[in-house]
């Protein structure tokens, strides 16, 4: 049995069923031992909204006596008199008191306490009551995170938090996500926030993301946080303003995401089992020409192509259908938690499998966690958080940053009259076919390429706290984050266009981060004055090592990947590298409240980083904030439960995102000269001892309000982030012998408003309707690019069109900069009288504007045609509860973003006229009968590459999406063993409302690279339907 369980030849689905069955058996037998028993004086059950409240306390008023409800909410209190008054209370619920009288059974259903002002939220190196907050911090509890097929923490936040934009740049299982907190504060230095898990900042660089044999670099490589199970998360806080982030110094400028995992509690053990299984299917196949349409179109524009085919061999292939499938997603998580006064535990294990909707792609995760909290004595406490996981990814090359690669991309463009397979069942890669000789059969990727990436991540933090005095606590912490990844790639000849070769590569990478930290915490209440001080010192080290082995020219697939020395010696390749970086930091923060009205916070971090240049080893990051609880004043109307204004200002930084940028470096290389191998030093870059962090000064003004007994609560924030000392590479003229040196220059600004609203629309005893809304605006503008060649940055690639992206003062980062179309040429005379793009232009070709009126079409004619940053984003959740039934609808969207739809550009200017393309382009192409067409005649090939990506393909990528609808039902249980049982049905990614004609309005083939945002060959979006349940014992 056991050996079968781990038999890797089994399909994952079967494996999962078996595992779940065994786990269920084990845990059911454990629960049985927890059945309550015994004689009682007063017994009963404490529930909250119908669910057993494990851990609810039942105390007797005026007596030092109390009990705790068990897993079923059952309790028993002895030795009571009829006069005794029982107080039932539970965190998050309104307490109730009941006089015993002559009752012996008292069942209580507690009302949820909808007021969240008192909740405690996590900030850097501490916690704070929400009502005392002076900075911009968004907090979200696990129950409010996104639902559905969620693999990673970031997905669970998408659309939920004002000021946080999360786009899944690749829809591949385990694929990359791009996160921006309050805009984009860097051009080259990295824009991802700092992640802090259970107090330990983690190194979130992609593992295994680099380029390899025959596989283009995968910019949407596996998301490192995918190794953390979202089921283990208790809450997520996003620190947004400088007052909150400056305590993280040189890593705080892009915001900080604090992830807190679930922990044990006092009370009998509770088992919770969560499970869902669903099916994903392609949201919408792109509308390309059908076989008949394709034949008609080719006959019209490219006569002879179809005629040149052997009629018996003309097929009818739906390539998109061949490479996609309906795919399973399933998740099971079992947790066991509980504890007593001195020891609390949370233990969990989970299995997640997401098959991809492209054949032969999947992502799988096994994860375990143990969180232990111990109170050794009155003064000493310890906390342990430990998790380990195994992530198994089978990616496709889709969306991996290169044209003409990937099963879906090739299927999109493939000639539908070609048969996918030969008569003998082998894949048709006949290189004499004019189409196949030039373009790889999509099935060849699926059957000829095998990519397998395994990542094991073990992440742990252990700390000891010691109360030196009553108000002074010292804490020592050690943290380790170790990731080990191995990627294996095997490419058969069929997946290599016109090349006879077998390529195998093994790449292993290890990332180890360690943290040592000591903090002192002082907390004292005086009359009218509270003081909370924290200070500490922390040392972090980050190590990366990798080794790669590549072999080629294998004789057989059987002896290749696992006999990598069997390849052609001349072609084999070995490589390895190691890098280290360190941070040494001291930090301090003071928080105080005066008369519980005025709140003052100040913080300072001194960050030393090995990545800074020799002359700038330490950075200082101060911040200050004040808050004023106006609702404590008499002049504010009484219906304000809360009215707080607050303001903060401070400095945070963004350290260089790569090592060694300040150093002069040489690499030894090998060169063959006169048949002799010569080792020579190649200069990588010149030193810049002044290199430093990017500096962000941020102003934040916020208002928190709650009215009508917190029926309406909200926060409004305004922020202004001014980032300078941006990191750039270059600046040296070629004549200096090298162009590579890093330097700080330039300035950019992000500003915007954020609105968060929570309303309780209806609050009847059996019907509750609540709404949560977040709305965010963003204005991103580059202000200065001094020292940058031409004061502008031109980028763009992946499709022809020249340097079609512009970044310069006055524009947002990465604006599209393209030729402007001016309809279609209607006569030869018109062509002769205007500067045209192309000597081969004919009637029906696209006409472009000579905007600089110099009589020819040149680079000066380009116009700014939008940028991929949205002007505003929103998310809105409506929750309805009627008795045991609940309905959650979550809608989100973005407005004012543009995206380069390369698939559209390629439909107008294909690399080969025989490529398939969007049907709507063909339908509205210029013909003598359709002179008012939007698109050109599609006849002939353009000779001017600069116009290929033009303003027609820069499209509005605004969308509104029904991200999820969840229908749940709480099954009333009368069992002694089962605490609660919930079942649900869920639809995810249900519908997009958008004018965008491309495949994914959030796509970026280049991952987080903002200087080349391009929708080309994206992994297709999936719609998911699933059913799931949660059961507690």
């Amino acid at each position: 049995m056991k050996s079968q369980m781990f038999n890797h030849k089994k399909k994952p689905m079967q494996k999962y069923i078996k595992m779940f069955y065994i786990l269920s058996l084990i845990f059911c037998s454990i629960c049985n031992s927890y059945v309550a028993e015994g004689q009682i004086t007063v017994t009963g059950k404490v529930t909250g909204e119908g669910e057993a409240l494990l851990g609810a306390t039942i105390s007797v008023e005026g007596e030092n006596k109390g009990v705790v409800a068990d897993v079923n909410g059952s309790y028993r209190v002895e030795s009571l008199t009829p006069e005794s008054i029982l107080v039932f209370s539970f965190v998050g619920f309104v307490s109730q008191t009941v006089k015993v009288g002559n009752q012996t059974v008292i069942d209580i259903d507690l009302e949820p306490d909808l007021e969240t002002l008192g909740e405690v939220i996590v900030v850097g190196y501490g916690t704070i009551q929400r009502s005392d907050l002076t900075g911009a911090v968004s907090s979200i509890k696990s129950e409010d995170l996104n639902v559905g097929a969620i693999q990673s923490v970031q997905q669970s936040l998408q659309g939920r938090i004002a000021g946080v934009q999360i786009s899944q740049t690749s829809a591949e299982p385990g694929g990359g996500l791009n996160i921006r907190v309050r805009g984009s504060g860097s051009i080259n230095g990295g824009t991802q926030p700092l992640y802090v898990i259970d107090g330990v900042p983690i190194n979130n660089a992609n593992l295994l993301g680099s380029q390899s044999a025959g596989i283009p670099q995968d910019n949407n490589a596996s998301n490192p946080l995918a190794s953390i199970s979202p089921d283990d998360i208790a809450s997520i806080e996003v620190l947004k303003d400088a007052s909150a982030t400056a305590i993280y110094g040189a890593r705080g400028a892009n915001g900080v995401v604090m992830i807190t995992t679930k922990r044990g509690f006092e009370g009998k053990g509770k088992i919770s089992i969560d499970h869902y299984t669903g099916v994903q299917s392609v949201l919408e196949q792109p509308d390309i020409l059908t076989t008949q349409e394709y034949i008609d179109f080719q006959n019209a524009v490219n006569p002879g192509y179809i005629a040149g085919k052997n009629t018996e061999e003309i097929g009818d292939t739906d390539w998109l259908d061949l490479v996609t499938r309906d795919a399973v997603v399933t998740n099971t998580n079992v947790s066991f938690s509980g504890g007593n006064e001195s020891s609390k535990y949370f233990i969990s294990g989970g299995y997640f499998l997401q098959e991809g909707i492209i054949e032969n792609t999947s992502s799988e995760r096994y994860s375990f966690r143990i969180n232990l909290d111990n109170k050794i004595n009155e003064r000493v406490r310890t906390n342990l958080s430990l998790t380990t996981s195994l992530l198994v990814n089978n990616p496709a090359t889709e969306g991996a940053g290169q044209d003409d690669r990937g099963p879906f991309s090739n299927a999109f463009q493939f000639d539908p009259t070609i048969n996918p397979r030969n008569a003998d069942g082998t894949i048709n890669v006949d290189q004499n076919d004019p189409f196949l000789g030039d373009f790889l059969n999509p099935l060849a990727f699926i059957e000829g390429q095998d990519i397998n990436a395994n990542t094991n991540r073990t992440f742990g933090a252990f700390d000891v706290s010691y109360d030196i005095f009553r108000n002074l606590t010292a804490k020592a912490k050690i943290g380790i984050d170790r990731q080990f990844g191995r990627r294996e790639i095997l490419i058969d000849s069929i997946a290599l266009l016109n090349v006879n070769n077998i390529i195998a590569q093994i790449f292993e990478q290890e990332r180890t981060s360690t943290l040592l930290e000591i903090t002192l915490n002082y907390n004292k209440s005086f009359k009218n004055f509270n003081l909370d001080l924290v200070g500490g010192t922390t040392f972090e080290e980050f190590n990366v090592r990798d080794v790669t082995a590549k072999g080629e020219g294998f004789v057989t697939l059987d002896q290749s990947l696992y006999a990598i020395g069997a390849g052609d010696d001349e072609l084999s390749n070995l490589g390895s590298s190691r890098q280290t970086s360190r941070l040494f930091s001291n930090f301090f923060r003071a928080q105080s409240s005066i008369k519980d009205k005025i709140l003052v916070t100040g913080s300072l971090r001194v960050d030393g980083s090995s990545r800074f240049g020799r002359n700038n080893k330490y950075g200082f990051f101060p911040s200050g904030a004040v808050g004023y609880k106006l609702h404590e004043e008499s002049f504010i109307p009484k219906f304000f439960d809360q009215f707080k204004v607050r303001a903060s200002y401070g400095v945070s930084g963004n350290q260089p995102n790569l090592n060694y940028l300040s150093l002069d470096l040489y690499r030894l290389r090998e060169l063959t000269l006169d048949s002799a191998e010569v080792i020579f030093p190649e200069q990588i870059r010149l030193a810049n001892p002044d290199l430093q962090w990017e500096t962000t000064n941020q102003l934040n003004i916020g208002i928190d309000f709650a009215v009508f007994k917190t029926r309406l609560m909200g926060t409004i924030e305004y922020y202004h982030k001014n980032t300078q000392n941006l990191l750039f590479q270059g600046r040296l003229p070629g004549s200096s012998g090298t162009t590579n040196s890093w330097f700080n220059s330039g300035r950019l600004v992000n500003s915007g408003f954020e609105l968060t609203l929570s309303t309780i629309n209806v609050d009847k005893s059996d019907f509750v309707w609540t709404t949560d809304l977040q709305f965010t605006t963003l204005h991103n503008e580059v202000k200065e690019l001094d020292g940058i060649s031409g004061n502008r940055i031109r980028t763009g690639g992946g499709i022809s069109g020249g340097n079609f992206i512009l970044t310069e003062p006055g524009l947002p980062i990465g604006s599209y900069y393209v030729f402007e179309t001016d309809g279609v040429y209607q006569s030869q005379e018109e062509i002769d009288n205007t500067p045209h793009a192309d000597a081969n232009d004919t009637v029906g070709s696209l006409k472009f504007k000579d905007n600089n009126e110099n009589g020819r079409l040149d680079d000066g004619d380009r116009v700014v045609a939008g940028n991929p940053l949205p002007d505003f984003t929103f998310g809105i959740r409506n929750s309805f509860k009627y008795k045991g039934v609940s309905l959650d609808i979550f809608i989100d969207g973005q407005f004012g973003a543009e995206l380069a739809n390369a698939n559209l550009a390629r439909s107008i200017y294909p690399q080969q006229p025989t490529r398939n393309r969007f049907a709507f382009v063909v339908d509205d192409r210029w013909t003598p009968e359709n002179t008012g067409a939007t698109y050109p005649s599609l006849v002939g090939a353009p000779r001017n590459a600069n116009v290929v990506l033009n303003d027609l393909a820069i499209e509005d990528a605004s969308f509104v999406r029904i991200q999820s609808i969840r229908l749940g039902y709480r099954i009333p249980v009368k069992s002694n063993t089962i605490g609660s049982l919930n079942v649900y049905l869920l639809g995810q990614n249900l519908l997009y409302f958008t004018e965008y004609t491309g495949l994914n309005p959030e796509a970026n083939v280049n991952g987080g690279n903002q200087l080349n945002v391009l929708d080309i060959n994206p992994y297709p979006l999936a719609r998911t339907f699933m059913a799931g349940f949660n059961i507690t014992f």
């Binding site: 070769n501 010192t537 990545r611 002069d664 040489y666 060169l671 006169d674 003229p733 200096s736 590459a945």
Partner: protein
Amino acid sequence: MRKYILFILILCLFSSSCEDLLEEETFGELREDEVDRLIEEAGVVGVGFSFLASGYASNRLLDRAFAAYIHAPSLMTGEVDGSGGTWEFSVSNPFEEYSWDLDQFMINQVYNRQYAAISNCNRVTDLITVTSDSLSTTILGQAHALRGYSYWMLYDYFGRLIISESRPNANIIDQSRATLEETQAQIESDLRIGADLIPEASSRLGVMSKGGALGILTRFYLNEKRWADAANTALEVMDLGAFSLDNDFGSIFKQTSEGSQEILWGIPYQVNNANEATILGALTLPPGILLQGGQGNLPAHLRVPADFVESFADGDVRQNEYPREYPNGSGGTSTLPDGFHACLKYGQDPGANGAAGGIDHIVVRYADILLMRAEALNELNGPNQESIDLINQVRTRSNAPELSLSNFSSTEQLRDAILQERAWEFHFEGLRRRDLIRHGKLVSDALARGKANAEDFRLLFPLPSAEIDNNPSVNENNPGY
């Protein structure tokens, strides 16, 4: 306990050892001081050679060197036509159509890489001052010759140059462009010093040879129309006696017979190192051609206009490099569309790894020396028997009928015949652009082919805008850009 914790805190807060922790530790890469230490250990000559290798590498590791030095000029002259793949759009078209913009990536690479080569040669000329032994003399000579070659390539593409005499240095970014005369003097002096210092017995591929330095110097003189210097320098090469015409014209260019005696100097490519391989061969291969060994094909290919192929005399073996029909992978024959022939001059490398092959870039070969001397003598003396004999040496090798002096009555007539001979002999070797510029025909020929963008200012390429923007002493680009 309390004291202990405080002690640790204080230790870390004030300890100077924490400062050292923030020094970056490098692994597998060298710092400038480590390179200097290597210099001491390896001795000046060894390191000089190593830096010189870095200079060669700058020429070769330019991933598309052949594209910048062979494709771009060939496309500008209509010798070949790019078809298919992203290559057609992004590389072929701008040159075919004379529509390249500022900062065309290949052109910028030429600029940056050649200056990288120059700065590494500068290190060698800095290091080696004493030429007491033959090895250091050779290395110093090679450094001069290689630098001369780099300056010549830059001069040919960009005109007036910045003359750099230092190793890479962030502080030296303020140098103005020299005059044309100064630029020419630098090229001439580097190549001459190099040719004088390099001993006669040296290689043909890779390390700079005496013949290579003299050959490039001949080319420089010819293009400057310094006919007497060109004729004399060509003769100097011929007198070395180290080179001769290869009997088999086609084999000179093929990987299968690397290192022909005809090659004066070339840049070798290797398959076994990804950075030293070239896709020169793969880019020319027509669709579906029967592939040999590990050779791969690319979606793009280059085609040769039929009128050129048909212009060869009957029996001229040079014509054989341009078939219209070729064997395909399934045992049959494929044919290119009307008007086009395949370009198989470089052909396939059976040892290639896919598109990446080891076909060498021949910079200068003996036939060029003969024809350059023939041209120079004609310009000096008018039609003469020596010129005719030199041309006939080249023609008979390829089984083309001999020319006779009696057919040429004027300098112009023979000049045109030599230009035509060069078209046949050096097709797709990257020489045609400057041949036509020398004869004042580049733009007129392009216009005749319908390339309306061809204008005189495009005889030079634009400097990278980084040079204009970051070098305070260079404020203008070449005229027209």
